[in-house]
């Protein structure tokens, strides 16, 4: 399923957060969204998820305007994978995943065997089946992310939004989650992933979108976007890109 964003603008009061953002992401593609804090990455995701509604421009999934859809219809197409966060109540990992099936149910129904099977399959797909009965809040940050990913999978939406999924994870878990995200894009999902680390984009993303002051600074193949020039504009610091046998490595240039 393709996601097409055209001329998207959004303001909080007088403060313009996004101004005329246009891009498209195709099935089978991992699109990394780069930019400093407060540049509108989260707002962009909120617009796609229907949480920020007063935007101008259009957001389409396979040609269908998302603004016209109910939360339930939207959930059939777009799944969000939030950052790890504390819960008010304790649910098991399995129940968290099971909640992803809700949009297919009547609001007055509870999940049945079909939904439970879908949840078990989704957990198995990201190799967390053994965690099913564990309380969600007892899991590590990486495991919680995988639970959210499994939940998105059993939501059966083809567009996955990951808003800084690696923000609170240790290094190993970051690479684990990013690897899963890439595998999913290879399996035909359209994955949008915002990250603070351009190196991650270089390693895992097919294409990249650089946001600067609410506008698109650059977009295209990751190797064309994640270049010292763009990064200096984004983060206000000089970088060097070293070509190694294992791929490109970014290093900050200090002292000048």
């Amino acid at each position: 399923m393709s996601l097409t964003v055209e001329n998207l603008s959004f303001s909080y009061g007088r403060h313009a957060v996004l101004q005329g953002v246009s891009f498209a992401a195709q099935a089978g593609e991992l699109l990394a969204i780069l930019g400093p804090n407060g540049v509108g990455k989260t707002t962009l995701f909120k617009c796609v998820m229907g949480l920020a509604r007063r935007y101008t421009g259009t957001i389409r999934a396979d040609g269908v305007d998302l603004a016209a859809l109910s939360p339930r219809e939207r959930a059939h197409r777009v799944a969000a994978i939030p950052q790890a966060h504390p819960l008010s109540f304790r649910y098991s990992a399995f129940d968290m995943v099971l909640m992803g099936t809700s949009h297919g149910l009547s609001p007055f129904a509870v999940p049945g065997e079909r939904e439970k099977t879908a949840a078990r399959d989704a957990m198995a797909r990201v190799n967390i089946a053994p965690l099913a009965d564990r309380p969600f809040d007892h899991l590590s940050g990486g495991e919680q992310q995988l639970v959210f990913i499994a939940r998105a999978l059993c939501q059966q939406a083809k567009i996955l939004l990951m808003d800084e999924p690696t923000a609170s994870l240790d290094y190993g878990n970051r690479l684990l989650v990013l690897g899963v995200a890439r595998d999913l894009s290879r399996a035909g999902y359209t994955v949008l992933l915002s990250t603070h680390d351009p190196q991650h984009a270089l390693w895992y993303a097919d294409r990249a979108l650089a946001l600067h002051e609410g506008k698109v600074l650059a977009q295209g193949a990751t190797r064309e976007v994640v270049v010292p020039d763009v990064l200096q504009q984004l983060y206000g610091r000089p970088f060097a890109l070293l070509e190694t046998e294992q791929g490109p490595v970014l290093v900050p240039k200090e002292g000048n």
Partner: protein, 344 residues
């Protein structure tokens, strides 16, 4: 999953405990009726509903039947209804506000109802008039809270809580003023007694009147129990999972308000039940509202029935049940929150 089987078994046990307490409660009281006779009297009444009067031979005295059917039955059923309603409302409010400290009076239903009752007593209304006034003001208060919250900018949930606090204290001030101007020889004690909460005035005719609004509210609370799980994750996550959060939340809040106002208007102010019972259930059943909601129904009914039995039997003079729920509820709650956390 294993936890589901365990939760189902716990629900079954809760149901049996409630049934046992329900039958036992008929035997408790100054006029002793053996438990077996209680069952016979109730069964006879039930059979007579279909077969007409005198279908069964009576092996008990007239007084026994009056004590069981006219005096104890209304009170026992009302205790179950009120306990069930307050606990269900508590569980619903806690889920909707994703805050385990929320209780049924969070949106001002109880304060409004108290004001309505005090006003009706001041104006010399009948018992039915007091109930109606309490119910009406309970609903009106929550309606006002929702209107205020809708007009305010910012996060809806926080606005609801703030508006609830504000209007609660407004109506409490009104109640205080009514107490000040009420006739101290008869009205003031009546108001004070009402505010303490009691089921002693319950009559058989009250039951259908209380049951109707409670049923109207409890059915959606039960049906929407899976949506409560989603809502408790927070607004944006629930929405992203496909929940029409505005509509589902409104139905839940209205239903919870309806059952709260209905209970308060018949029983007076009975605190702690709506806060303590869902917590107790969470310790036994887990937080999943699929089991927590029916668990709160059963456990709330059993809890209030038990407390009411104590309230009418412990001392020669009846202790208002509101005092007892606080006396039992507060220390119990303290125990719950200080107890070492165990696994799900």
């Amino acid at each position: 999953m294993g936890s589901e089987k365990r939760a189902r078994r716990a629900l079954l046990i809760l149901g049996l405990v409630l049934l046992f307490l329900f039958l036992l409660s008929f035997s408790l009281g100054r006029y002793g009726v053996p438990p077996l006779t209680v069952v016979k009297i109730l069964a006879a009444r039930f059979v007579e509903l279909f077969a007409g009067k005198g279908a069964l031979q009576r092996t008990w005295t007239e007084q026994m039947e009056i004590a069981v059917v006219n005096i104890r039955l209304p009170r026992i059923v009302m205790a179950c209804l009120v306990g069930c309603a307050l606990s269900a409302a508590g569980a619903a409010f806690q889920g909707v506000f994703h805050n385990p400290m929320a209780s049924p009076d969070i949106l001002g239903a109880s304060s409004g109802a108290a004001f309505g009752a005090a006003l009706a007593i001041l104006l010399g209304a009948s018992a039915r008039g007091i109930t109606l006034s309490a119910f009406g003001f309970g609903i009106i208060t929550v309606g006002l809270v929702m209107l205020v919250a809708r007009r305010a900018p910012g996060a809806r949930l926080i606005n609801l809580i703030l508006a609830g606090i504000m209007l609660s204290s407004l109506f409490s001030a009104g109640t205080s003023y009514i107490k000040l101007v009420a006739d101290p020889s008869n009205q003031l004690p009546q108001i004070t007694y009402w505010l303490m909460g009691s089921l002693s005035g319950t009559r058989l005719g009250d039951i259908p009147l209380a049951f109707l609004p409670m049923a109207v509210g409890l059915v959606p609370l039960f049906l929407l129990r899976w949506q409560l799980n989603l809502l408790s994750l927070g607004e944006s996550e629930a929405k992203a999972l496909g929940v029409n959060t505005g509509r589902v939340r409104l139905i839940l809040l209205l239903s919870a308000t309806l059952v709260t106002a209905a209970s308060v208007s018949f029983s007076g102010m009975i605190g702690w039940v709506g806060l303590v019972v869902p917590h107790l259930c969470r310790k036994v059943l887990g937080s999943d509202h699929r089991y927590l909601m029916p668990g709160s129904f059963l456990c709330g009914a059993a809890f209030l029935l038990l407390v009411d039995d104590v309230s009418r039997n412990l001392l020669p003079v009846e202790i208002p049940i509101g005092i007892l729920t606080a006396l039992v509820g507060a220390p119990f709650f303290l125990y719950l929150i200080t107890r070492k956390e165990e696994k799900l």
